[in-house]
Amino acid sequence: MSAAGTKGWSRQQMADRLAAEFGDGWIVNLGVGIPTLCSNTDLGGRDVVFHSENGVVGYGPALPEGQEDPHLVNAGGQNVSLRPGAAIVHHADSFAIIRSGRIDATVMGAYEVSASGDFANWKVAANAKGGGIGGAMDLAACARRVFLLLEHTTRRGAPRLVRRCALPVTARRVVTLVATNYGLFEPEGEGFRIKELAPGLTPDEVGAATGAPLAA
């Protein structure tokens, strides 16, 4: 899966590592794609409420086939379960929760993230006619922390951690933490700081796959 072959984290390991940053009592919004894997993570007794943009507050893992409730999906359309204490609200209230700053962390996928904390995840090309914003712009602008989960490079090996985003951005100067298959990184303005490297990777290897300066 990763460009470094056997080196680095799997997608579930990336999600697990990022979820280790969730604080006890946090309200966390998980986006579509790799972020949904955070709902599988063993949180070791920490109480985290997962919020889904479609008004589900307090959902749990996806249910196995045959046990799904067709009236209940998360943002990715998965038939999920509800945890005890869950609540349902309508869409405007769901985004009121987001816009009023009550989401402690939003976890999203992205195509690119810049050293200044901008990121892009709604258009696959700068000249694309359509786009998929969904709740990403609301979450990015208003959550207390913006965490990203993405592969460190594209399939062609181009860096996704860059000095400046080439794609239209979702929000500017908001990203607090980035987990990739190569490790955990923090945007620091001019470059990224390595918070942790995935096993088997050296700073030089990761630096070569990163489009912005990398500091230990």
């Binding site: 008004g55 009236h71 309508h90 987001i98 914003i133 969904g134 500017r172």
Partner: protein, 245 residues
């Protein structure tokens, strides 16, 4: 005694929708989507429509009636959605080729802004400011204002002529109740619309049979109700048979 809002079938429910109407469609990833009303609108044939919904649909199989089908049927002038393309570059929505060919116009709106524009329209609020979208392509050339040291984007209310919704329970007065994530956009779309048409999953209750405290959308917002027949006549999301009650 309130008027009984139940109509006989889907053709009656969508009767009189004129060309050029703006229609909001409830639903999010399946639950709360008025599949039967969309199918009836495909048959009814109103054209030059503006369709407001979270997505244009078509991302999942088996495909259910969606906005993309109305586009394919030549009935749509414009869509207002938070997704006009799939988020995975490898997924291409059926809608995409109509957009690429310029056969339909699209207004892409952040999802929370879409919900709030509908809520505002239904609340007598003509416009509002939001931090969402500031510094992005969608804010280019638009009015912003600084509040509490932070830039905000002006957004206008989004009133609609019709809302097509799907609810779990209703009474003859049009009081509605949704089940779990079926609620999504439905209550705010009901508020934003002049005429609200609802397909209902359970038998419509007599007036007085619904607990007032259990009503999610009051009947004063609702005009026409139609009962969804059991499958195969009525369209239901998959796995209804295993639905946990």
């Amino acid at each position: 005694m309130p008027k009984n809002k139940l109509v006989a079938g889907f053709a009656e429910a969508v009767a009189g929708i004129p060309d050029g109407a703006t229609i909001a469609f409830g639903g999010f990833a399946g639950p709360g989507t008025p599949f039967n009303l969309i199918r009836a609108l495909l048959a009814q044939g109103a054209r030059n429509l503006t369709c407001v919904s979270n997505t244009t649909g078509g991302a999942h199989q088996p495909r259910m009636p969606d906005i993309g089908m109305l586009v394919e049927n030549g009935q749509v002038r414009k869509v207002v959605c938070s997704f006009t393309a799939a988020t995975r570059p490898t997924d291409v929505l059926p809608f995409a080729r109509f957009l690429e060919a310029g056969q339909v116009e699209a207004e892409l709106v952040p999802q929370g802004t879409l919900a709030e524009r509908l809520r505002a329209a239904g609340s007598g609020i003509p416009a509002f400011y939001t931090p969402t979208g500031v510094g992005t392509e969608i804010a280019e050339g638009r009015e912003t204002r600084v509040f509490n040291g932070r830039e905000h984007l002006l957004e206008h209310a989004l009133p609609v002529d019709y809302a097509f919704l799907r609810a779990w329970q209703a009474d003859e007065a049009g009081n509605l109740r949704f089940r779990l994530s079926q609620r999504n956009f439905n209550p705010v779309m009901a508020m934003a619309a002049r005429t609200v048409v609802v397909e209902v999953e359970e038998d419509v209750l007599p007036v007085g049979a619904m607990d007032p405290d259990a009503v999610h959308t009051p009947g004063i917002f609702v005009h026409r109700l139609v009962r969804v027949p059991p499958p195969p006549e009525g369209l239901w999301p998959a796995r209804r048979a295993e639905r946990a009650r």
